[in-house]
Homo-oligomer: 546 residues x 2
């Protein structure tokens, strides 16, 4: 265990600052959108996904708007059937309920959002059926550590409170030109390095399908909000699973682009200069079509004209073969999936075969080594960047911060080079194996089971393997949810103590996970972002009978 | 100074192996192409560029072939005016003279080359005016450490002798499909990390313009051979200047692509896992048009279909503005150029202004820090990879190996991260400055003066800055050569002891540098390889009055 930087006396001095930013959050809520206390579900009601239908603050039309994909919303606004303001109100209302139930929002951008929506509506009225861009009027939520001009950005560190950024993150800036209406900022964990979302500033974000469970992380605020249909379009970030895990835990769609495919300019965090595992910024949405729309729009915005660190790669048109060859990797070799995940995989395979796709088994290659490259590299500075950021305020370390930093050990450059060499060799080996087997895409879990309990997600390998390999990946819902009656059985014999410990989290109390949605993950080849998203549309539609 | 790994007893055991590979080299020479001993120039004749005209082994037509660009040779072969075999013979003859005078070749691929040329001629005859590809019949030379299937690759380390590789490097494999005729492999320095080309296996490569001078390095065999017109097309590699320095020293053209723009698959060296400064593989040629032809052909070969580590970036068509804005960086801020280089820069500026281009001054930003990132990173493993490779045979360390490894100090990962952060910030800063000044391309030296004396090149910053910044760069001749009568003066007051020491190398004896050609360097923005080469054509033509 790493030495903590906790300092209760110093932390006491930061408490007024925490109160101040919480007040910014609370003041940003539109009061008339709040569900009255007495209409809120009891705290012991776990599944709250239906509350928008019960609370009485949203009209039927508004409910429908929030369950429409961005692709369709844009079409309806372009046809004059919906105004940007109507769409904004609908999502603001549902996001407000989300905030009351799940604590996922750190700040509503209320004033700016309404000004922008009105401006778009005026533009549309004036020009007659012309939109400002491909995302005209789409409300957008943004993970807190991704810069919004003129706003404070704390990245989940108490000691960062008060840091104001002077420009939008570059993806946001491109999306704004395409017409989005940024309306909310969302929660993330202390240090940004949990697959969970709790910090000492805003507290814990909960899962809408089951409030005992984690919203995942680090983009957990986005996961919960988008999963609750409180936002059609969210921006998250992912260096070990931080888009895909929350998307999976909350039953929505998420996408981690190939690192450096699109820009990551404009983010705050600790640990500059770590280049073995590079971060990605990407979307969480309510459909596969919307993931594609997001990626195409950001790429069409030519981020390479502003960000000199990324290649010039316009969005390619790709053809999807009628019959895809799908490599199914059931197991990451480290923690075998529990029953509901196996059930989802088997269900998916059946649907995909019925739809004419070819399924071939795919075995993870050197998963321990590949996962370790990530675990060893994140804190190869002995965690000193993270510890320094935590030490600024002396804030208490959350349990998952302690867990993450337990991997902190200083590497010499020679040792880091060895990790890089393992990484490079593995990238070649996985790619070669996909080619050898003729696999178009890999289907696998994004986690060994449903959402973990809060403060409990420890095993990131199903996602982090692909950060280490830098293979782009999406997650999508299967429609399967946990049914403790049929999902309790397990005869798998754990291969290691670690595996037994991880699986026991679920196996000890499957009933706690009731109703949790099961997503699956699709992994493609390096820089083949277009293929991954094109195939995700086809594959998710086949599984969901769309 | 790092502790050496020298071991005279062990090295003695390797000597028969050295003799064996030298014999491979010598046996590969076509004996009738050799210039008789008595027709060779005296050893004290420095400039040997005219020897092909004097030696009597080459016909006028052959001489003309070897002074024709690849672009034109392809056209003439496509028109049936030349056969591939004729072209091969011409270059083989001139390369044989080069080898006799300069010791630049490690092995001729005689048998394979003639077989391939004959095959191409048969194909052409059979199909009637159809070439196999855009490089039909172009002889190609290859730096020794870049794999050629079935051949030994030693990378300048005695202890690597005997290692046979089982496939071609990927650029070579693409070029072969495009029709090249690989005919020679070329020399490089011990450890690959000198800007000079001497090793304990094949000895020292000399400069054709002045045999007192270095051919540069590490692609010095290519530089000398192409500079002597003994090869129309060479493949080199560059991690600190290793294509550009030898091209500049030998008065030819060279190009370092953006790292990861095209593939580096299939090379041997020491130090896997160093990812702060990535290597490039690229061409040395006799014209700017040929650099472009090379890059377009390799890119059109879709290296990303084989090499999973690089982005998918087809070759873009670019328009060259009629009037370019050229930022002139006369000085790297560390070692101010000596007179002949200043003269070449002033000459170039005059020509470029006359041609209607706009010249603006450009000052190097934080050159010491940016150069240090490279120097600190190459051996951040304490040089242990290099030392291990040298230690295999116990071979003596050459002076420039000692110099290079004097930079070896072990970094912690935290220190390496700090270097990476400096690198990233500098990349952003340089790019922003170019944009702010509206600069299309930077014109600067590739070295502070003409070719150094053998065993004497120490200051790589003019090139290595741009490896650190990962900005692609070409070099091209200006037509200016050193004239000691007018190039001896100097009134510059050195800013540091280091600068005084470097400049003294030239200033102490300008007469030794007589006849050395002066090339200049053009540097563009990250991934703008197409622009750099398009502008290189226009700029070099303006300066050379083409």
């Amino acid at each position: 265990m790493s030495e903590t930087t906790e300092d209760p006396v110093k932390f006491e001095q930061w408490k007024p600052e925490i109160e101040r930013v919480r007040k910014i959050r609370d003041d940003s809520i539109v009061k008339e959108y709040l569900v009255p206390e007495d209409k809120l579900p009891a705290p012991d009601r776990m599944n709250v996904t239906n509350v928008p239908y019960e609370a009485g603050t949203m009209s039927e039309k508004e409910l429908k708007i929030t369950e429409t994909t961005a692709v369709n919303l844009v079409a309806q606004m372009a046809a004059g059937e919906l105004s940007a303001e109507e769409v904004l109100i609908a999502f603001m209302k549902r996001a407000t309920i989300a905030q009351q139930l799940l604590n996922c929002v750190t700040e509503f951008l209320t004033e700016e959002a309404f000004a922008k929506a009105k401006e778009l509506d005026a533009y549309y009225k004036k020009t007659g059926k012309t939109t400002v861009g491909p995302l005209h009027g789409i409300p957008l939520s943004i993970k807190e550590h991704l810069s919004v001009k003129g706003k404070e950005v704390n990245a989940g560190f108490v000691g960062f409170i008060g840091r104001v950024v002077d420009e939008d993150n570059l993806q946001l800036s491109i999306l704004k030109k395409a017409g989005v209406v940024p309306f909310a900022r969302t929660n993330e964990p202390q240090s940004l390095m949990h697959a969970d979302s709790s910090n000492n500033i805003y507290g814990m974000t909960l899962n809408p399908y089951n409030r005992l469970l984690s919203a995942g992380g680090s983009s957990g605020g986005e996961g919960a909000l988008v999963g609750f249909h409180g936002s059609p379009f969210g921006i998250g970030s992912d260096i070990g699973g931080s888009i895909r895990i929350p998307a999976a835990f909350n039953g929505c769609y998420g996408y981690r682009p190939t690192a450096q495919r699109i820009t990551v300019k404009g983010r705050t965090g600790a640990g500059a200069g770590q280049i073995t595992i590079l971060p990605s910024i990407g979307p969480l949405t309510q459909s596969a079509e919307d993931l594609d729309l997001y990626m195409k729009t950001v790429t069409d915005g030519e981020p390479w004209e502003v960000d000199c660190l990324i290649p010039i790669m316009p969005w390619r048109k790709v053809d999807t073969p009628k019959s895809l060859t799908i490599g199914v990797m059931k197991d990451d070799g480290l923690v075998y999936p529990v029953k509901p995940m196996i059930r989802a995989l088997d269900y998916a395979i059946e649907k995909l075969e019925k739809a004419g796709h070819k399924i071939v088994p795919f075995e993870a290659i050197k998963p321990r080594e590949v996962y370790d490259v990530a675990l060893n590299s994140f804190y190869a500075d002995n965690g000193s960047a993270q510890k320094a950021a935590l030490g600024l305020s002396g804030e208490p370390w959350l349990e998952l911060t302690k867990y993450a930093l337990s991997y902190a050990k200083p590497l010499s450059t020679l040792e880091q080079w060895q990790q890089n060499a393992i990484r490079n060799a593995a990238r070649v080996e996985w790619d070669a194996k996909m080619k050898e087997l003729g696999i178009d895409i890999i289907l696998c879990p994004a986690y060994f089971g449903p959402a973990a309990l809060s403060h409990d997600t420890e095993h990131w390998a199903y996602t982090a393997l692909f950060n280490s390999l830098d293979m782009p990946g999406s997650v999508f819902p299967t429609g399967i949810t946990v049914d403790p009656k049929i999902d309790a059985e397990d005869s798998f014999k754990a291969r290691t103590e670690y595996e037994a410990k991880q699986r026991a989290k679920y196996l000890n109390a499957p009933e706690k996970y009731a109703g949790a949605p099961i997503d699956l993950q699709l992994i493609g080849r390096h820089y083949r972002d277009e293929e991954v998203l094109a195939y995700t549309k086809v594959i998710s539609a086949a599984i969901l009978d769309k």
